[in-house]
């Protein structure tokens, strides 16, 4: 029989190819979500720190001529000196509805007297909307000056018989952008007192995100508000987590009845209804005249938010105390403070970091919530929550005023949450590797 198929190998134990046991891959921190949220956080910090310097507008400056205006670039406006009562020049009455002058300070209308009509009613509507719009005045004269909250858009004026309701005349009017002398002086655009010749046109700064219900620049307010929100969001957790850690560490290290009493106290504080007490404490610390209300806010958060980290750290300290390397260090005569600093602290530090990163979005939320119900910072200081509070009043007519600050809150909370998640996963896996 042919044996060609077989070539006998040496009869030895084949060397076992011991597979390399793959090391647990160290956490990959730089996932796209983490990179993106880090960038967002940096951008937000730049926005609130450098932003105001670059932008340079005063967040409390009120432009009476631009209430709830939409986004606008820098533009020039007419300076209106005379906006007192008005009468049409005595001349031949017009044939139809004529506009003598139209700007955002006033619109001057005149129309022919119509026989049989005793009183005229004037309606004003946005040109792109159907219907008569607002009845802005009734008069027995054949002219009218409209000074009612005009903005830079096309209007349609309709004149009707006030008695019969019969529509008589209509016309679309486009007022040009203007500012009154009074406001220009108020804003410092025109020197006060000098009644000499002044420029007819003024350069106005732009509002890329529009203005709010008091005519303030929303971009500048978002920057100023962000300062408060992020400040509270970082400082309050820093304080209460530090306090909680110290409290928890003392309880855990002391043990015995100290621990018992301390933890009972923690239980009680946890049982307090958080938001009710936030409000109560916030009021209890009070805001004096001229204060911005940030400190009472932080103190109130400190008093109510520390128990979580106290529990966490106490548990960790108790667990570590029982572990061999701590016992060994003690037996080797290492001093207590050194044991704490060199052996325990490095083990609890990652957990504290994770707790901190999750506390930031929480604190931003709490601040926003309190400011939203008017229990947070006090004007003129503002925050994103306070901006939301302003914005919700004009929600139905100008949703932008709520949505913009809300967007900033959401994006920052989201970014910090994602960072916290990544940090937690990293420490979890580190603990897993250490155990394995």
């Amino acid at each position: 029989m042919a044996m060609s198929v077989f070539r006998f190998a040496r009869r030895t134990w084949a060397s076992a190819d011991l597979e390399q046991i793959a090391p647990v891959p160290l956490p990959k921190m730089a996932t796209p979500a983490v990179v993106l949220s880090s960038l967002v956080v940096v951008a937000l910090l730049l926005f609130v720190s450098i932003g105001p310097l670059v932008w340079g507008q005063d967040p409390s400056q009120q432009w009476l001529s631009q209430i709830s205006a939409g986004p606008s670039g820098p533009h020039s406006v007419r300076l209106i000196r005379d906006n007192g009562p008005w009468q049409p020049p005595v001349s031949e009455p017009p044939q139809s509805l004529v506009v003598h002058d139209a700007n955002t300070e006033f619109v001057r209308l005149q129309w022919p007297q119509i026989e049989g009509v005793r009183r005229y009613r004037i309606y004003r509507a946005s040109a792109h909307k159907a219907g008569l719009g607002l009845a802005i005045a009734e008069t027995d004269k054949a002219y009218y000056q409209d000074q009612l909250q005009l903005s830079y858009q096309i209007y349609r004026y309709t004149i009707a018989d006030a008695d019969s309701g019969l529509l008589l005349l209509a016309r679309e009017v486009r007022p040009e952008a203007a500012i009154s002398l009074f406001e220009a002086q108020l804003q410092g655009l025109v020197p006060v007192g000098k009644s000499g010749r002044q420029a007819k046109w003024l350069e106005m700064p732009g509002h890329p995100l529009g203005t709010d219900a008091l005519g303030r620049d929303i971009l500048a307010r978002l920057m100023a508000g962000g300062r408060t929100s992020l400040f509270v969001g970082v400082v309050a957790p820093l304080l209460y987590i530090s306090f909680g850690c110290i409290f928890g560490a003392i309880a855990g290290l002391a043990g015995g009845w100290v621990d018992q009493v301390a933890m009972r106290f923690v239980d009680f504080v946890v049982a307090l209804p958080f938001l009710l007490f936030m409000i109560l404490f916030r009021v209890a610390f009070g805001i004096g005249p001229g204060e911005n209300g940030i400190m009472p806010l932080i103190v109130a958060m400190l008093m109510l938010s520390w128990p979580g980290s106290a529990r966490l750290i106490r548990g960790q300290v108790l667990a570590l105390r029982g572990q061999a390397f701590v016992e060994a260090a003690k037996l080797a005569g290492v001093s207590t403070s050194r044991v704490i600093l060199r052996h325990m602290l490095p083990n609890v530090l990652p957990m504290i970091l994770v707790a901190f990163s999750f506390a930031i979005p929480q604190a931003i939320f709490t601040e926003a919530f309190l400011s939203f119900i008017g229990m947070g910072v006090s004007p003129p200081t503002t925050s994103w929550g306070a901006l939301c509070n302003d914005g919700i009043k004009t929600l139905l007519s100008h949703p932008r005023q709520l949505l913009l600050p809300a967007l900033f809150i959401s994006v920052s909370v989201l970014a910090f949450n994602l960072l916290g998640d990544a940090l937690r996963d990293a420490t979890d896996r580190r603990a897993g590797v250490a155990k394995a």
Binding site: F277, M375, C388, P399
Partner: protein, 315 residues
């Protein structure tokens, strides 16, 4: 079981006492008192009013008086709303908050369990991704913003339909409940669906799930008898704190949707330093929450036999 409930109620009572005491002293630490908010009044009138409300006595005596009355369930008369008993305010406005909160918790529970289950069943596929994105969005957007958006949507909807499909705000009919309750429950729903997803994944990988399938159990019976009952346990433990969050978090929604619930009265009372109303509502809320947590613990025992039969030791 009875012993367990009694123990929980006793520690609850101590908690309520602590809450009441903390509130009392925090409130009196606030500079001023309810009477200073009124217009200037003559010292005689002021003295008379102080005597009427017991403000002339030393703080400790006021505290004792308050505790005594509290034990009898009497919180006194409101300072700012003439002759209105605090108990009347609570009994008139709390049911509104409670209905809203209950609806919110139900929506959150049903929605969270459903979303979490779907996410677990379709793990790492698009329904899961969709749910998780929704969860992140709901956690990152403040409740008052969601409330505002909801109002905008209602208005747009009503405009598009040309009639009032849903009221934008107010209270009084069933239609007034849906949107505020949904808004109130949304954050909780997100939280619960996260927990539900994790626990359902665990159940789907559990031996007993495979064993049940090996018996021929399938479809709804498998889901209902074996998967849901086990997976919902961690969700139920979270229900106590959840209800607490929803009831106290309700006042923003109440403010925005103009719902005459108790939360609004509380905020008002704090602003006006209305001692009796503050005390009454805080203690009432505290007691309510303690009761809810005990009830949740009991219901947990009903679902999980291990706890029911061990008298609540094993958590």
């Amino acid at each position: 079981m009875l012993k367990f409930i009694a123990k929980r109620l006793l520690s609850g009572a101590i908690t309520i006492w602590f809450i009441a005491t903390a509130t009392f002293f925090a409130m009196h630490a606030v500079p001023g008192d309810p009477l200073t908010q009124e217009k200037a009044m003559s010292p005689a009138v002021r003295a008379q009013l102080e005597a009427r409300y017991g403000l002339d006595k030393p703080l400790i005596e006021q505290y004792q008086l308050f505790l005594g009355n509290m034990l009898q369930g009497d919180f006194g008369i409101s300072f700012t709303q003439e002759n209105r008993k605090v108990n009347d305010i609570i009994s008139k406005h709390f049911p509104i908050s409670a209905i809203l909160g209950l609806a919110a918790v139900l929506i959150a529970l049903v929605g969270g369990v459903a979303a979490g289950t779907v996410a677990a069943y379709y793990r790492n596929r698009w329904p899961d991704r969709l749910v998780m994105i929704g969860v992140i969005a709901a956690i990152s957007v403040p409740g008052f913003v969601i409330a505002g958006l909801a109002q905008l949507i209602i208005v747009a909807m009503n405009n598009a339909a040309g009639k009032t499909l849903l009221p934008v705000a107010g209270w009084g009919s069933v239609n007034h409940i849906w949107v505020p309750a949904l808004v109130l429950g949304l954050g909780t729903m997100a939280y619960l669906s996260r927990i539900m997803r994790a626990s359902m994944l665990e159940v789907l990988n559990a031996d007993f799930n495979t064993a049940a399938k090996a018996k021929g159990v399938h479809g709804l019976r498998l889901f209902w008898h074996h998967q849901l009952r086990n997976a919902v346990l961690p969700v139920v433990t979270e229900l106590g704190p959840t209800i607490a969050g929803v009831t106290t978090g309700g006042f923003v929604v109440e403010l925005i949707f103009a719902i005459p619930g108790l939360g609004r009265y509380f905020v008002q009372a704090v602003q006006q330093l209305d001692y009796t109303v503050i005390m009454g509502t805080t203690v009432f809320y505290g007691a309510f929450l303690v009761l809810v947590v005990v009830l949740v613990d009991i219901s947990y025992g009903l679902i999980d036999p291990r706890i029911r039969l061990h008298g609540g030791g094993g958590r």
